[in-house]
């Protein structure tokens, strides 16, 4: 079954271990939502996906992949 994967953990690591709280503040959501997205338990809306990608300054497809 196709699933939306994400590289948030890796991208946070690459950015000097950006915390989930910092990412949540940049993306405009709660830390709990970042945790849920990172663990693949919640698929964010398109708007939040773009905000997360923007927080990392990368294109959307570098954060999320449909496999």
């Amino acid at each position: 079954m196709p699933k939306i994967q994400n590289r948030i953990r890796r991208l946070r690591f690459d950015r000097n271990e950006m915390t989930q709280q910092e990412l949540a503040e940049k993306a405009g959501c709660t830390r709990q939502t970042i945790i849920a997205v990172e663990q693949g338990k919640y698929v964010p809306s398109l708007e939040l996906s773009f905000k997360i990608a923007r927080a990392f300054a990368v294109p959307l497809e570098e954060v999320f992949q449909y496999e």
């Binding site: 959501c29 709660t30 709990q32 939502t33 849920a36 663990q39 338990k41 919640y42 708007e47």
Partner: protein, 145 residues
């Protein structure tokens, strides 16, 4: 634990206490027999459910809607919880309709007090179901990996 999740847990506790208090006061003060004759008793009961309703409204309306406290995921869970709430109301009414129809079928009418009891119980079921639905929503989302 998300702020909405904490609030729902707290609300569930308060709503349960509220429901138990209403039932206890109703039974200890004389129940259905006193309802018909004692206006003060009716006033106390009305005060209790209106007070509980205001508390319930305050609990959820006072939730901070800043992005770091409440976001799209919380909104999705609240929206899903309304389905649980809807089912609780329907099931409560179904139970009342079947129970009353069978019990009072021969008389052809039901006592007036039951209208208030139907309302109280449906209101309690609805408020409890919303908190349960929200908590269930978080549990289910955390479970789905």
């Amino acid at each position: 634990m998300a702020p909405l999740q904490k609030r729902s847990l707290f609300a569930l506790l308060l709503e349960t206490l509220w429901a138990l208090a209403i039932i206890l006061v109703f039974i200890s003060q004389g129940g259905a027999a006193k309802w018909d004759t004692d206006a003060d008793f009716r006033l106390i009961m009305d005060g209790m459910w209106v007070g509980g309703l205001i508390l319930y409204w305050w609990l959820f309306s006072s939730l901070d809607h800043r992005p770091d406290q409440f976001d799209e995921r919380d909104k999705t869970i609240i929206d899903r919880a309304s389905k649980v709430q809807w089912w609780a109301v329907i099931m409560s009414l179904v139970a009342w309709v079947i129970g009353l129809s069978e019990h009072y079928h021969a008389q052809g009418q039901i006592p007036v007090i039951l209208l208030s009891l139907i309302f109280f119980s449906t209101l309690i079921a609805s408020t409890l179901a919303q908190s349960v639905g929200i908590l269930f929503g978080y549990w289910r989302m955390n479970r789905n990996a």
